[in-house]
Symmetry: C2
Subunit: 345 residues, 2 copies
DNA sequence: AATACTTTGAGGTACGCACCTCAAAATTAT
DNA sequence: ATAATTTTGAGGTGCGTACCTCAAAGTATT
């Protein structure tokens, strides 16, 4: 049987009240008594029963995800995973909600953050472009006592803010390495395409991609980033122009998580066959392209892991604990046809 | 506030006792009353408080991992992860132990399993070669009321037994695809090497590897499997022989999770440079080789996920619930230098 | 209508812990 | 030595659920 507080009290030679004071850091206990209790904890191997503690405490974690409303399939998957964990964590005193903020307008996001306080949520995961305004609003939110993690968009480590997501520079570098190894036999140019290059994530991926290519694969030359801006017609035209200008395009790299417009334009023009193609995120569209052999590899981050990790980090912060950095590192996954498995998650 | 059983009773217009009977599937409730309670559950959004339920039930899950004692670094990592989760799950009514069984002797493993009963453990994760003897002992163990999962070694889906691990055929196919794409520019032979080909896992990997190569990369020819048998001297000799017999070896594939002897022998002979090399499992040795550029890719399964998944499956079975197959699928990970990250986990 | 049987209600105890109060004991200051 | 203060103990309540008992109400069988 696992030792309880009662056993601990007996072992330490004190009363339950004193054990309670020590365990919960309440005042009014002599230093030597504290030490005696701690010694007993180690001696009998006492471990707090977290479920019982939370039950008694009536503690609840109210967490919220703030996501952009304009979204691709990757974002939809994230929302699905949030809904799943909403159910899964309900039994663990954790309420998970999500909200989709209109557009990418930093003003509006900042305004929304200003309206949030400890009465609304204990922790918030924010997926938003990191502008000075958003950043300021975030800092004030934290000062008001709300825990915050930067979600998916952001930068690991660099800031004092918690970040859950992948290092996009490394993700781009991963794509670069694969492209390099896939194309090493024939020098040529690489078409790089994205929905927009205004997003910081895309810029970082591009940087990582270029770094590997220029260092290790001098035979491959990455073309300037082509932007779709979500416009199929425009994309069709530019793609055609690029392929008629450059006859030696050997690979295609889609930077952004929105891949559909880009890939379909290239495919329509008949330019995908025989070329290496790499894209980001495991969306059903990308998965289909990979199975069909149109895409050669997908660089992905697991949406389920992202969501659960953000929740764990926020809960740790709510408890005043430091999250386990090693456990919360999100992997950059490489998917090819053979390791796709069955589930999308 | 979240609805409790009390609220549920009121909403359903029945007593707490009846609610309890319905929730816990106890007999003595009319079918229409059951339906009324279920309707109320959906209506008010009642969700069982798992912590409170477990507390009241006083339930404990005693789980045990049975692992081979002779082991490579991968096995050591598994043990480390088990120890970690031992602590992490202690607060969730779950005791996790592990035992390392001497050798790979099926007799001994079977004998050991015969000695285990419900008084020792509620669930066991077994990592052992699947011989008829072991299989029989496992089935009898299950009949005695102990839940069992096949761990790492085994086959997904095919059996009625739960399995936690990757599909080794797919893992081999993944290696095959990568090798194919990495070497597509120069036809030649692939050296395939393992500690032993008596292990079923290794056979399956080989099968998957060959299937992809013969189908999609006819220019590449995989040589017969070379076995190290854990003997560096012997390995040195065979490796030399192979490389002098075949001058067109363009790639090396190490099947087994024990990679050290094989890779060091080839490296010593100076035959790794300029060739594509792929191995299995993220051991510190493999990681080092990958960072050094000696290895080109690692096919891995995440030890932490393996352990936690096995625990979740066993707990589900102990509760008489069906585990969520989609959540428990272990990913076949592809690691290259750029997506290694920091932690080994 | 009497009997047997099924279904339901009321109420209690327990799980391990948090958090509270009040009084008793021990220690320190005067 | 007495007063003031700190430290400790004893005891209680409640969190949400499981599981038990016993009696009351309902239904089916003869």
């Amino acid at each position: 049987m696992r030792p309880t507080t009662k056993d601990l009290a007996k072992a330490a030679g004190v009363s339950l009240a004193t054990v309670d004071r020590v365990l919960n850091g309440r005042p009014g206990v002599r230093a030597e008594t504290v030490e005696a209790v701690n010694a007993a904890i180690r001696r009998i191997g006492y471990e707090r029963n977290i479920s019982a503690a939370n039950l008694a405490r009536g503690r609840r974690y109210r967490l919220e995800f703030m996501l952009p409303s304009s979204g691709d399939q990757f974002l939809d998957t994230l929302v699905d995973r949030i809904e799943e964990t909403r159910v899964a964590f309900a039994g663990e005193h954790t309420e998970v909600r999500h909200r989709r903020v209109l557009g990418n307008d930093p003003h509006q996001i900042a305004a929304l953050l200003s309206g949030i306080g400890p009465q609304d949520a204990d922790g918030i995961a924010i997926m938003a472009p990191e502008t000075p305004q958003v950043r300021d609003a975030t800092m004030r939110l934290i000062e008001r006592g709300v825990k915050v993690v930067q979600f998916v968009s952001g930068q690991p480590g660099a800031r004092r803010l918690d970040f859950v997501g992948v290092d996009n520079n490394a993700a781009g570098a991963t794509a670069g390495r694969l492209m390099g190894k896939f194309c090493a036999h024939r020098p040529g140019r690489i078409l790089v395409i994205a929905d927009t290059m205004n997003a910081r994530d895309n810029l970082e991926r591009r940087q990582g991609f270029d770094a590997v290519l220029t260092r290790d694969y001098p035979g491959l030359q990455a073309l300037p980033s082509l932007e779709t801006h979500g416009d199929p017609g425009r994309t069709d035209r530019i793609v055609r122009a690029f392929f008629s200008n450059y006859s030696d395009i050997v690979g295609v790299y889609v930077l952004s998580s929105e891949t559909r417009i880009a890939l379909q334009a290239i495919d329509r023009a008949g330019h995908l066959a025989g070329r290496q193609a790499i894209a980001h995120e495991r969306t059903s569209f990308n998965e289909q392209m990979l199975r069909a052999g149109t895409l050669d590899a997908i660089i992905a981050q697991n949406p389920g892991h992202l969501v659960r990790s953000a929740i764990r980090v926020l809960r740790s912060r709510c408890d005043g604990r430091e999250p386990l950095a090693s456990q919360e590192e999100i992997r950059i996954e490489i998917l090819i046809r053979e390791n796709l498995g069955h589930a999308t998650g």
